[in-house]
């Protein structure tokens, strides 16, 4: 019979789905990921439900935990906003790590040298601007080569990360070293530290502001339109009279500048000093944030909060239940997979063998 060699299931393209349904699938995939996340927790010999409870407890149950969680979320969100325009343009900027670092270097330069001479608000403003400029210029280098000679931006931006980190390593052990032999850059003066609002450094206000700005930039401005057109088709952009090379460079500068600001917030708001691990993988994790939120700035708030909760909570998990904190990374990985799978099921559906054949063969 025909059944014999009909595949068990086949794929068919779906018609348009309602927005609500699409988001329901996405939320559902997060839940499925959390359920799958139980498996590695159980492998460590723990009850997954109590483990999740500890994660939530450890990250949001007390104001101090919430503040620490927010502190983790700030750079994630900021950096996700930074790479969103690049990704929209299909320019794979994976160099946010380096751009954060260079922003932090610029901010640190002023923090170390002018804390005594410039009043704090002005100093912070200068640190903000120079950090943005430094991050932007750092990002401009690969963009320039891409625009001019069509070099591969993925490799280029990745390599730039290591150069930036190398520069900090040299500063740490060389010109900016505090106590000789310490390999450490001195802590910032109070004048160079970001003030706190609700007892968290005011970077959270800056990133929330950026969320709104980025939303308008991407959706309402001419430049945002140009970025979207290039992301869809470079030829269409040229046809419409856009200067593609220039737009790539401009967008990368903006992206790098925001990463630079994130770097400034990390050194001036959280660490109060600079070391070579300043970016601490934020430039990469934020790619996950940007991707999971479909480049929607408001969705990024939720995703970065979720990843921050996972990270903060799993630290508690480690101290309380001796579960390795890297469990957070595993769950994040499962999340990413399951979100990608959900995009697949938004576009396709499975038809199982026999289901629609019954009537015919009966």
């Amino acid at each position: 019979m025909s059944e014999v060699r009909t595949p068990l299931f086949r794929l068919a393209k779906r018609e348009a789905m309602s927005r609500e349904k699409i988001w329901a699938i996405r939320v559902g995939s997060i839940i499925i990921a959390l359920i799958l996340g139980c498996i590695p927790i159980m492998l460590t010999g723990n009850n997954p439900i109590s483990a999740y409870a500890v994660i939530v407890q450890g990250s949001v149950s007390r104001p101090i935990y919430i503040r620490q969680t927010v502190k983790i979320a700030i750079p994630l969100l900021g950096c996700a906003l930074a790479i969103a325009p690049c990704f929209k343009m299909r320019f794979w900027n994976i160099g946010a790590e380096g751009q954060i670092t260079m922003g932090a270097v610029a901010a640190t330069f002023f923090a170390l040298n002018f804390a005594k001479t410039i009043p704090s608000p002005l100093l912070l403003a200068i640190m903000f601007i120079t950090a943005a400029t430094a991050g932007g210029l750092w990002a401009l280098i690969p963009a320039f080569f891409k625009a001019k000679w069509n070099t591969n931006e993925t490799l280029f931006t990745l390599m730039m990360n290591y150069i930036a980190i190398g520069i900090v390593a040299w500063l740490q052990g060389g010109p900016w070293e505090g106590r000789k032999g310490s390999q450490l850059i001195p802590m910032f003066d109070d004048a160079a530290r970001l003030p706190e609002v609700f007892r968290v450094h005011c970077g959270w206000i800056i990133v929330l502001l950026l969320v709104v700005l980025m939303y308008f930039y991407m959706n309402k401005t001419k430049q945002g339109f140009e970025i979207a057109v290039i992301g869809d088709s470079v030829n269409t952009a040229r046809y419409a009279g856009m200067n593609v090379g220039w737009i790539i460079m401009r967008t990368m500068f903006i992206s790098g500048a925001i990463s630079g600001i994130v770097g400034f917030m990390i050194v001036s708001g959280a660490n109060y000093t600079l070391y070579k691990g300043v970016a601490n993988g934020v430039g990469f994790t934020s790619i996950t944030v940007a991707w999971l939120s479909q480049l929607n700035s408001f969705a990024m708030i939720a995703i970065s909060a979720m990843l921050a909760i996972l990270e903060k909570g799993s630290n508690t998990l480690q101290t309380r239940l001796q579960v390795p904190a890297s469990i957070a990374d595993i769950i994040t990985g499962i999340l990413l997979f399951s979100m990608l799978a959900s995009e697949f099921f938004i576009n396709y559906k499975l038809i199982f063998r026999g289901r629609d054949k019954k009537e015919v063969n009966a």
Partner: protein, 508 residues
């Protein structure tokens, strides 16, 4: 045996999502017969044949071969049943020889020598003109097609399906192909050609099966029918075959192209010393085998292709000339030259697939207005106007155009391009892939623009249309102008001949 059908398809239904591509279709194919499967674009011809060649499986219905019920799950199984399909887009490895390509995917031992002999033998039998040892990249399009046909024959196919085999061929190559098809028919093969060209149907087929919008309309003997009757079957109601071609009073020159030469990145000449004038109030047809420089010509005029030599000028009403060479598309627009361009690659160049109609209208005007913000009001109005006037079928003006049907995509593009009353309107393959009704809509829009005094440059592939739509026809061959003829007096044969060779009287 003679009366028995080689293939009998019964009640075949295939759905893609909500679209019913084939709705309980019955079709019979006989040995020693050429069956033309006729239908407009999107009528389900290719889908139906793909089910015969194992690419799709029917949702409902049965296929019989020689009276026996069979199931075809893959192209390989189709071969086992003696069914082979030659697709519209060839699936050949460029760096392999003809014989290597033919052997590819077969389980038998790689015996190139034996294969060469066998290929040669097949070629001689049916009158093919290929060498088994030629590499594919050295072949012309028609030779590549031949390789595909031989590939199918080599696998012992007795039932051959050809999907739009003449789409890429010159008239002369088409004749050769038809000769081969007739030879195969004499040899007892069953042949199906998928096409929407009536003249070819009349010329080569024995029977015609007509599909319309996924439904089977009927099968007729070719000798008992005529193009008019077939058209009626295809479109459901009679469509006048005549394209309206009014004459414009007092034309003057609008677009002057002089000694235009363009080379591509590899240094190959794509346009060689091309000169012509396009006048207001005329449609200048551009004919040529695909890849003769049509694309480069239009893109060079639009400022999208680098010009090595020559001059492109637009003349305004007061005889002032504006040089376009060296200008970017934006500079050309800023120079006040009303230029509109409907490129061949609609979604890849003319439109942004992921955006709705509004976003696509914005492509022309996104720079307008002061400030950093987009002005969406006007494009929105324009989108609504285009949707109404050109009857674009879309759920909303914000529905991604990528998901519209081909005809609607083209309406969006053409609608935008003619919206600011262009003085020069260039179109590349404006009706490719469109059904007859939409094609006529496009012809009428172009003629309307012509009568408003625009110089319309129409690059086309269907000679019948060019002969009826255009006022003059410029024929390109290998990047050179082989002649410019009056469309009202020339013949298809004349143009066809010019397409394959440079005429003696190159236009000065």
């Amino acid at each position: 045996m003679d009366t028995k059908y080689a293939i009998e398809m019964k009640g075949i239904t295939k759905r893609f999502g909500q679209v019913v591509a084939n709705d309980s279709i019955n079709l019979t194919i006989k040995r020693g017969e050429i069956l033309a499967l006729l239908g407009e674009n999107g009528s389900g011809k290719t889908t139906l044949m793909n089910m015969l060649s194992g690419i799709y499986q029917p949702d409902e219905g049965e296929i019989y071969k020689d009276g026996k019920l069979i199931y075809i799950h893959s192209p390989r199984e189709a071969y086992e049943h003696g069914i082979g399909m030659i697709h519209q887009h060839y699936k050949l490895i460029e760096v392999f020889t003809a014989a290597q390509n033919i052997l590819l995917g077969l389980d038998e031992k790689m015996d190139i020598k034996g294969a060469n002999l066998k290929v040669k033998e097949i070629c001689e039998r049916y009158g093919f003109d290929i060498e088994p040892t030629t590499k594919v990249y050295d072949m012309s399009v028609s030779q590549k097609q031949t390789v595909e046909i031989v590939k199918v024959l080599y696998r012992g196919a007795e039932i051959l399906i050809l999907d739009e085999p003449t789409a890429v061929l010159t008239p002369q190559e088409t004749d050769t192909l038809f000769e081969v098809l007739r030879n195969m028919k004499k040899d007892g093969k069953a042949i199906v050609i998928i096409t929407h060209k009536l003249n070819e149907v009349m010329e080569v087929s024995d029977k015609v099966a007509v599909l319309r919008k996924g439904e089977y309309i009927g099968t007729v003997e070719t000798r008992n029918t005529n193009p008019q009757a077939l058209t009626d079957m295809m479109v459901g109601h009679s469509v006048a075959l005549n394209i309206n071609r009014p004459l414009y009073e007092n034309p003057h020159k609008k677009l002057v192209v002089e000694n235009l030469t363009c080379v591509d990145e590899e240094g190959i000449k794509k346009l060689d010393n091309v000169s012509f004038i396009a006048n207001t109030g005329e449609i200048l047809g551009v004919a040529g085998i695909s890849g003769s420089g049509q694309k480069e010509l239009l893109e060079a005029i639009a400022g999208l292709y680098p010009v090595k030599n020559g001059s492109i000028r637009v003349v305004d009403d007061k005889d002032n000339e504006t040089e376009l060479v060296g200008k970017t598309p934006r500079k050309i627009r800023e120079a006040g030259v009303g230029m509109a361009f409907v490129p061949e690659d609609r979604l890849g160049m003319g439109l942004v697939g992921s955006m709705g109609m509004t976003g696509n209208m914005l492509l022309r005007s996104w720079k307008n207005g002061k400030g950093a913000f987009l002005k969406k009001k006007e494009p929105e109005n324009l989108a609504n106007r285009v949707m109404e006037e050109l009857e674009v079928v879309t759920p909303s003006i914000d529905f991604p155009v990528r998901r519209l049907s081909g005809g609607n995509v083209q309406k969006v593009l053409v609608g935008r391009e003619i919206s600011n009353e262009p003085s020069v309107l260039m179109t590349a393959y404006a009706v490719r892939g469109l059904d007859i009704n939409t094609s006529y809509t496009i012809y009428n829009l172009l003629t309307e623009q012509k009568m408003k005094g625009a110089a319309v440059v129409y690059v086309g592939e269907d000679l019948d249309v060019l002969l009826e739509l255009a006022d003059r026809i410029l024929v390109l061959c290998g990047g050179r102008v082989s002649g410019i003829v009056d469309a009202r007096t020339t013949t298809k044969e004349e143009v066809g001949l010019m397409m394959t060779q440079i005429g003696e009287d190159v236009d000065e």
